[in-house]
């Protein structure tokens, strides 16, 4: 079998076509929103959310409503609880995220077990795009288009709020609303990715291509574009691996996405070379002297 046939033949089958469209929808939308999750340092929150959403999905299944609604409601509930614990009780943010997300995840596992279908639990946790239906694919595609278009259109506002939120507020940018929109979009993407990579692996598809793209590119626009290409490649490669060598789809897609980060890191290290490292040492020395900048520089006194 030649390479073209090895790649194309699986997609002559109807269930693989549905899986392909589903994989492309998730492969584009998750990395695009991932660029902003990485930029805003929301990776741990997103990881927690991907666990917590299990409770919403199980509740939606029990109530007979759309998974999307259950997922988004629980994501917002989680965000509200984290904000409450941080602002009212003074808990560290990571502790609050850990407690709330694991609590909701445990509730979701118990709920799924009580519903009496362990296969459904495995499906939600690890995904299986080979069983996805056309209506589900259509819903995934629509939500992915909304998320990607929103990210592309709002990129300047997201960048403004990420660079200097205080200044953004003084010129009338609703930073809190943008943050809420970002959290809702992340929840939507986790729900979209549920049947493809599962809630546990979705964080990988959100984070890994975005990280690789940030290493390779110098602007948010090219980062979103590159991340989506890497996400689609991981999705398609995962489907092919599942078809030809019977690997589980979701974890395989996640492994390929991680491999993309490893490969990108290697390329960047080689490309930068010793001259770059020497220059970086000089820059770091200047930063220590307070002459140059970085986002990681110690903060001045604030009152």
């Amino acid at each position: 079998m030649d390479l073209a046939a090895w790649i194309l033949e699986p997609f002559s089958l109807s269930f693989m076509q549905r899986a392909l469209v589903s994989g492309v929808a998730v492969g584009i939308s998750a990395p695009v929103i991932g660029v902003w999750a990485v930029t805003k340092r929301l990776v741990y929150l997103t990881d927690g959310m991907s666990h917590a959403i299990l409770a919403g999905v199980v509740a939606a299944a029990a109530l007979g409503i759309a998974f999307t609604i259950g997922g988004v409601v629980v994501a917002l509930l989680m965000a509200a609880l984290v904000v409450f614990l941080v602002l009212r009780l003074g808990l560290p943010e990571d502790s609050a995220i850990g407690v709330v997300s694991q609590g909701l995840f445990a509730a979701g596992v118990v709920g799924a077990t009580l519903l009496g279908d362990p296969r459904a639990l495995a499906h939600i946790l690890f995904g299986n795009p080979l069983t996805v239906t056309w209506p589900e694919v259509a819903a995934q595609g629509l939500l992915a288009i909304i998320v990607v278009a929103g990210c592309a259109w709002l990129a300047p506002a997201f960048a403004m709020a990420a660079f200097d939120p205080a200044h953004a507020r003084t010129i009338g940018v609703r930073v809190g609303a943008l943050d809420a929109l970002l959290v809702i979009s992340l929840a939507l993407v986790v729900v979209i990715g549920l049947s493809t990579v599962g809630v546990l692996m979705c964080i990988t598809l959100i984070t890994a291509p975005a990280v690789a793209a940030r290493l390779l590119t110098g602007s948010f626009t090219t980062a979103m574009l590159t991340a989506s290409i890497l996400g689609v490649l991981a999705s398609i490669a995962g489907l092919l691996a599942a078809y030809h060598i019977s690997w589980p789809v979701g974890p395989t897609i996640a492994l390929i996405a991680i491999a993309e980060v490893a490969l990108t890191s290697l390329i960047v290290l080689i490309r930068r070379g010793p001259a770059w490292r020497a220059q970086r040492a000089v820059t770091q020395e200047r930063r220590r002297e307070g002459v140059a900048h970085s986002g990681h520089s110690p903060r001045n006194s604030s009152e």
């Binding site: 003084t170 140059a292 900048h293 970085s294 009152e303």
Partner: protein, 251 residues
Amino acid sequence: MHVKPSDVPPAVQLRDLSVRFGEVVALDHVSLDVLRGEVVAFVGPNGAGKSSLLRAMTGLVPTTGDVLINGRALRVARASGVAYVAQRSLARWDLPLTVEDVVVCGRQGHRATLSRPSSRDRAAARDCLALLGVQGLTHRRIGELSGGQAQRVLLARALVQDPDIIVLDEPFAGVDPGAVHGLADVLMKLNDEGVTVLCALHEIDIAAKHFARIVALQRRVLADGPPSQVLNGDGIAALYSLPVDHAQSDA
């Protein structure tokens, strides 16, 4: 119609202004006026409330009391003609943005909500960079800037808002000594063009040299006047709780 000077409201009026963070009182019943075209430095030790005062003037912290800008209650800072330059170290200089991307942010208030920057916005950004003598940085990555360059970029972002009042929090912190006076000259040049300049400063020597009015803060206004009156030995001793002889040698 002829407008008498007395008919022109002050640029900033603070009336019985207090700022609290939980149990911590950052500002305690502060009242003062800043006239249009004044250049004012707010000095004081860490925790004196300098940053809180500036943030109150820009609507960033909840307050009690009144903040009037050009005689009207403060709304969104930009809509009131106030441009805010936060402490430089609080911004994310590691992001993949160019200098033009940052400066054009200041145009947000000049266009419809959620609309993207236009070519006119970008042209305005380049004009402001040119005005500050850093047009060569337009396409430079922000992570590659020196302290003085970065401060000018933030100043350009404020200028592109076309403000009446510029509020700067520690603009000289981390700027190398060679660039400090150039930056101060830029602020004075803006002031010459009618912009009211308000700065929170740690550097007493810069305040004394470049600012006509000094407000010494210690949660309240301890002293308010020209540098010779506020930044003499007794004034510095009172402000920083130093022995008078030690303060006189600093002054």
